[in-house]
């Protein structure tokens, strides 16, 4: 390398370093506010996922229990006892019909009712088969008229429809998921209550939620608020449909969606 080149190169380096350092970093307040909003969204999503995972674990456990009971293998159930006892602490059961005495905990029973992290609706009895489908196809398969909201908050769109086939071959449950651009989810569940089935019940951990009574189109409903923005609304209609909606949105919006179901 010639001396002249080396000299020029040293100058170039100095100048480039000056240019690098010369940049004034703009005030970061706006930048932080944008990042903060993003972090809050990620935090909410992580919390949602955690809740979903625990909920799924509990739901799987109760489905497994149902399976073992159907198959007359009660001993298998004992493996799940620890989990059920743990999660049953601080729980409130909400029945949508009067609980009949024989449905309460039976001291002779081999099992107690299955159980949740925060909110778990009683799963359909027996084995279920889940299908991803379209709304049109679901309407042709299920045993009841599916309703959908005429009001949904801006930018939410129906993304998934799932139907559950009970052990007798009937489809009595539909899940509809509405997702917005940020990945926030509103889930609408519709479940037809069987005539001779046990009373519909949801179990809530009262230490983790605020419970409010409300009405949806003259039907008694329960609104469960866990975080300021995570809301679960559940009610039973006179035609024996149990409906529930949950998502991260304002209480008023949740009620508007519920009242717009047609």
């Amino acid at each position: 390398m010639s001396d002249e080149f080396k000299h020029d190169d040293e100058f170039l380096q100095k100048w480039l370093k000056d240019v690098h350092q010369d940049v004034d970093i703009p005030d970061g307040t706006q930048s932080w506010l944008e990042v903060k909003a993003g972090l809050d969204k990620i935090k909410a999503r992580r919390r949602w996922m955690k809740r979903f995972q625990i909920g799924a674990l509990v739901a799987c456990t109760s489905l497994l229990i149902s399976f073992f009971m159907t198959a007359d293998l009660p001993t298998a159930y004992s493996e799940f006892q620890g989990l059920i006892k743990r999660v049953q602490e601080n729980l409130i059961d909400i029945f949508f019909e009067e609980p009949e005495p024989y449905l309460e905990e039976n001291s002779n029973a081999k099992t107690s009712s299955p159980p949740p992290d925060y909110i778990v609706s009683s799963p359909p009895a027996g084995e279920s088969h889940i299908e991803d489908t379209s709304l049109e196809e679901a309407r042709g398969k299920v045993s009841f008229p599916i309703v959908s909201p005429t009001y949904i908050p801006a930018s939410y769109e129906l993304e998934n429809v799932r139907i559950f086939q009970d052990s007798d071959g009937e489809y009595r449950t539909v899940f509809m998921e509405y997702v917005n651009r940020e990945g926030h989810l509103i889930q609408l569940n519709q479940h037809m209550i069987r005539e001779n089935s046990s009373p519909e019940k949801i179990t809530i951990n009262h230490a983790m939620a605020v419970i409010k009574d409300t009405f949806i189109n003259d039907c008694k409903a329960v609104l469960i608020i866990q975080e300021p923005d995570f809301i679960h609304l559940e009610w039973v209609t006179p035609d024996h449909m149990k409906r529930s909606i949950f998502g991260t949105l304002a209480e008023e919006e949740m009620i508007l969606i519920a009242e717009s179901l047609k």
Partner: protein, 190 residues
């Protein structure tokens, strides 16, 4: 905030710390990477995008690092790589509008020392403009060699090129920068 402290906060569960502490960490991180990213992107808007997007990555990955020893270098690398990837993926970023350059026309009549300072300022502004015209590939090479002071062997490893190819890129980058700069320098002189 002490440099080490904010690095430690990044290694904890960042989502659980309060917003004030989060803000301090973000500001420390932003100050660390901003100038590097701006050198590469030549745009405050794009720099802001890269800084923000990379922060989420850093927050997600930092707790998995074994220690804080090389964390600062790692953060800087994550941010730069994000900027490089952005250029690779999106060609629209390659032609950016030039920043406004304010040249003080009174410069020739000022006291020599002040005039020298003004000349430095003009030179820097013109260099900024010349860098804006360079392709991201050349800017990246100049950045690694002159700002990061990396030898060709290290640059070639990072870019997955031979040392010869890096040397060739450097020659071209220098030539182009010199051409863009001298054109402006002559214009400013006239």
């Amino acid at each position: 905030m002490e440099q080490e402290q904010w690095l430690y906060l990044l290694r904890s569960n960042f989502y659980d710390i309060d917003h004030d502490a989060q803000k301090l960490v973000y500001e420390a991180y932003r100050n660390l990477v901003y100038r590097d990213i701006h050198f590469l992107t030549r745009s405050h808007e794009l720099t802001e995008d890269v800084v923000q997007e990379t922060f989420y990555k850093v927050v997600a990955k930092a707790p998995q690092l074994r220690d804080t020893k090389h964390m600062k270098a790692w953060i800087v690398k994550v941010a730069r790589n994000h900027a490089y990837d952005m250029f690779k993926k999106n060609k629209k970023y390659r032609h950016l509008r030039e920043p406004q350059v304010v040249i003080d026309l009174r410069a020739p009549f000022l006291h020599p020392t002040v005039a020298e300072q003004v000349e430095d300022q003009i030179r820097n502004e013109l260099l900024h403009e010349a860098l804006n015209e360079l392709s991201p590939e050349y800017r990246q090479a100049l950045f690694m060699y002159y700002i990061e002071e990396k030898p060709y062997s290290e640059i070639s490893q990072e870019l997955g090129k031979t040392e010869q190819a890096v040397a060739q890129t450097m020659v071209r980058a220098r030539k182009k920068l010199y051409r863009y700069f001298s054109r402006r320098w002559v214009d400013a002189d006239e």
